[in-house]
Structures are given as C-alpha cells and as structure tokens.
Symmetry: C2
Subunit: 152 residues, 2 copies
C-alpha cells in the first residue's frame, strides 16, 4: 500500500488533461448526436461527410490526417457511410490511395444537417459565451497538436 493515498488521487483526477479531454468529447458528442438524431446521423458521421465534401477528390489518408483519426478507424467508418450510399470511392489498396467523395444523397444530407449544426452551435455559444467557445476550440487544437508531438 506504500504510496497509495486517496487525497493524491483526487488531485490526479482533477488535473488530468486526458481525462478532461475525453469527458468533454463525450459530453459534446452526446449533445451533437442528439441534435443530428432526426436525420439518422451521428456527430462523427456528420464531421466525416463535411470533411469529404469540403475537399474535392480527397483521399482516405488525407482525411485521416486532417481529422486526426487513425486510417484504420476511418476505413471502417467510411465503409459504413458507403453502405448507406452517402459516400462513393475509387481505388483502394495501393500507392494511389482511395479517392472519396459525397454521393448526391450524401450532399443532400449534409445540406439538411447544416441548419441543425448551426442551431446546436448557437445554443452552445449562448451557454458558454462566444469568446469562451472560441478560446476553447483554439486551445483544444493546440493541445491536440502538443499531444501529437509528445513522446516519453
């Protein structure tokens, strides 16, 4: 038991950036999931569709990098979206990569989702304050970058 102290652990829970980042992502994702639910879309699926629609002819690797998600995770998430006919792809294994794009249905769904996304963001902004929301986003981006370049 040497070194075990509940008081110390209370401090650890309170100051762990990893814990806080996950807790925040869970809370915010739950909120957006609920917002997109009428469209049968999850928050992550919305983000992927937006990422795909934003860059004509993007590839799996490019999208994985810009979303900060593992390519193997993205591979499966894309399979799901392709199964729903929201995304089309060309190519696959091999050095040229897999080019992906939105289908007509995918574009339509994104267009339908945008108003919900705007409402959701506006409500968050009201609760937290516009400036704080902006700061939070900026700091989260910097924290993510720091984590990507950190090793011990």
């Amino acid at each position: 038991m040497s070194g075990f102290d509940p008081e110390t652990l209370k401090g650890v829970a309170a100051e762990c950036p990893g814990f806080q980042a996950r807790a925040t992502a869970r809370a915010v994702t739950r909120y957006y999931n609920a917002c997109f639910k009428p469209l049968g879309l999850t928050a992550e699926q919305f983000s992927l569709l937006v990422g795909i629609g934003a860059v004509e002819g993007t590839t799996l690797v490019d999208l994985a990098n810009s979303a900060g998600v593992d390519p193997t995770t993205l591979s499966r998430n894309l399979q799901n979206l392709e199964g729903q006919l929201l995304v089309h792809s060309k190519g696959g294994r091999g050095r040229l990569g897999k080019q992906i794009g939105l289908t007509i249905s995918g574009r339509k769904l994104v267009v339908d989702a945008l108003p919900l996304w705007n409402l959701a963001k506006a409500e968050l902004s009201n609760r937290l304050g516009k400036e704080k929301l902006r700061s939070a986003s900026k700091l989260m981006a910097e924290l993510a970058e720091a984590a990507k370049t950190s090793r011990i």
Copy 2:
C-alpha cells in the same frame, strides 16, 4: 445540389466544437495510451482506477456522474477491470447500487502508474506551456458543462 458549397464546409469543419473536442480527445488519449502501455493499461482504465481509488466506497452511479460517462458504458468497463482483478464490487442491481473499490493489485497498479502519468503531463506541459494547459483544462470543463445543459 442547392446549398451545397465546399467553401462553406471548410468553415464548418474549422469551427465545429464537437469535431475539435473529439480530435483532441483522440490525440491526447493516444498519447496517454502509449505512456501507460508498459503497464498494460489504457488511459481510460487509469482514469477509472484513479476515480475509484479517490473515493472510498464509491458506487457505479457516482463514478459515472463524476466521470461524465454513461452508466452502461461504465458497467462494462468495470466488468473488464474486475476481470483483471483490479477492482472489487459489492451489490448490484437494486436501489443500493454497486459499491466498488480497488483491490490490492489495483492499488499497486495505480501507484506504479502515477510516475508515468506525471511524466506524461510534464511533457505535455512543456510542449503547450503550463498556463495554456491549465486554461485548456478549465475551458474544456466549462464546455462539457455547457453541453450537458444544452438542448435544442
């Protein structure tokens, strides 16, 4: 296609707090996962063990609330930790709830993990800056709270 515009979508991706929160959680969690890997522990498991060890006789519901995680998620994550004999529990279904605590092995593992956690946090702090790391944690906590109380 009316309303579909890639330029608009670039803006959406850049200003979505949900996307940013998830990307950050992924990056930070990957980092901590790598740090705890020598102990066969994930970042989330570490957080749970800390949360359990911090409060004597805590319950599943209490822990779920303090971690901001769904009770059904926690139920399964605890099953995993119990299977590894890191956590013991008493009670179950019913109004008294399930009391959980760390086993001797669980306490030992937390004690062993604390130095790694400190190193990992120190490295993040060096990269991002102590003040920014603190601000990020605080703002993420406020954002999570805002998301929990938001509805559209």
